[in-house]
């Protein structure tokens, strides 16, 4: 199965969720700034990355984990990804997850400053702090996603 975590920029919440899913970050404690910055793609995306589905890794159930920056498409993005899967006859293989539900205003402000305005130092600190505050919400979302993926796999069998 293909799991696509998506958020506005594909740079913070989606990347953090994917890292938790893949075990790059532990679930039981809030990661440090350094640990967040060590995640591939975290606060490192550029304008050209919008819309690209980027590979993050493979989980223990052989699900391939991806991240996507979808700008302001919101939940519509879920339907579009599932719909394209359906058109291709593979809708059961696609599980999109909108991580914007876990994003707080600190992440929005920090992400905007760092990625859009290019004010990296304060923006990165802010987004890092916001991500740490939202961390357990993201962990919860990942746990729900993992259960969903297992359910979908079982239904397919």
């Amino acid at each position: 199965m293909i799991i696509i975590y998506h958020c506005f920029g594909g740079s913070h919440s989606s990347v953090t969720a994917a890292a938790v899913h893949l075990g790059l970050l532990g679930k039981n404690r809030i990661p440090s700034d350094e640990e967040l910055m060590a995640i591939p793609y975290f606060d490192k995306t550029v304008n050209g990355d919008f819309g690209h589905i980027r590979f993050m890794g493979v989980d223990e159930y052989n699900n391939r984990i991806y991240v996507l920056g979808k700008k302001a498409l919101g939940d519509r993005c879920n339907n579009t990804l599932i719909g394209i899967g359906r058109v291709l006859g593979s809708s059961e293989k696609v599980l999109p997850v909108n991580t914007m539900t876990s994003v707080n205003w600190l992440m929005k402000l920090g992400g905007f400053s760092s990625r859009r305005l290019g004010i990296v130092w304060p923006g990165r600190n802010l987004v890092s702090y916001g991500t740490r505050k939202a961390f357990f919400d993201l962990v919860n979302l990942v746990e729900i996603t993992r259960l969903k993926s297992i359910q979908v796999e079982e239904m397919a069998i």
Partner: protein, 146 residues
Amino acid sequence: MKVLFIAPTAVHQALIAGNIFLDWLPDDNLSNIDNFGDMRADATGMPLFIGKDENDTEVYTLGVGSEIDMLKKTIEDLRYILDYTEDDLVVYPIEIKGEPFLSLWAKLLAQLGWDYESPTIVTKSLKQRLPELRTIIENFKTELYS
């Protein structure tokens, strides 16, 4: 093969393009097109199946808002990830003059409850662009089947 026309909404330019592709639009009477201007059909963000042509090619439309190029990338990436190619799904963006204004107008009126048919100003404007759209789609079809 499948062809997906993407535009700001699934039920205006993209739907006209789909109908031209299928040879279902002999004149400029847009009101004969099923779902034309019906923003309720566009609301979910799911591709809209229009029909099949004589070569068994399935035609779909999809509304993607103002981010046409970005969504094209996403759909093509997903196609690749799912192990399909351009032989299975062709994504064709419909970009015509004045498009952002038309979509904005249609979406604004849809928000106000006028979501079941195309507003007159949008329909008139699209009719004016019909010859341009016919040329674009006929060229695309020729290229696709050559």
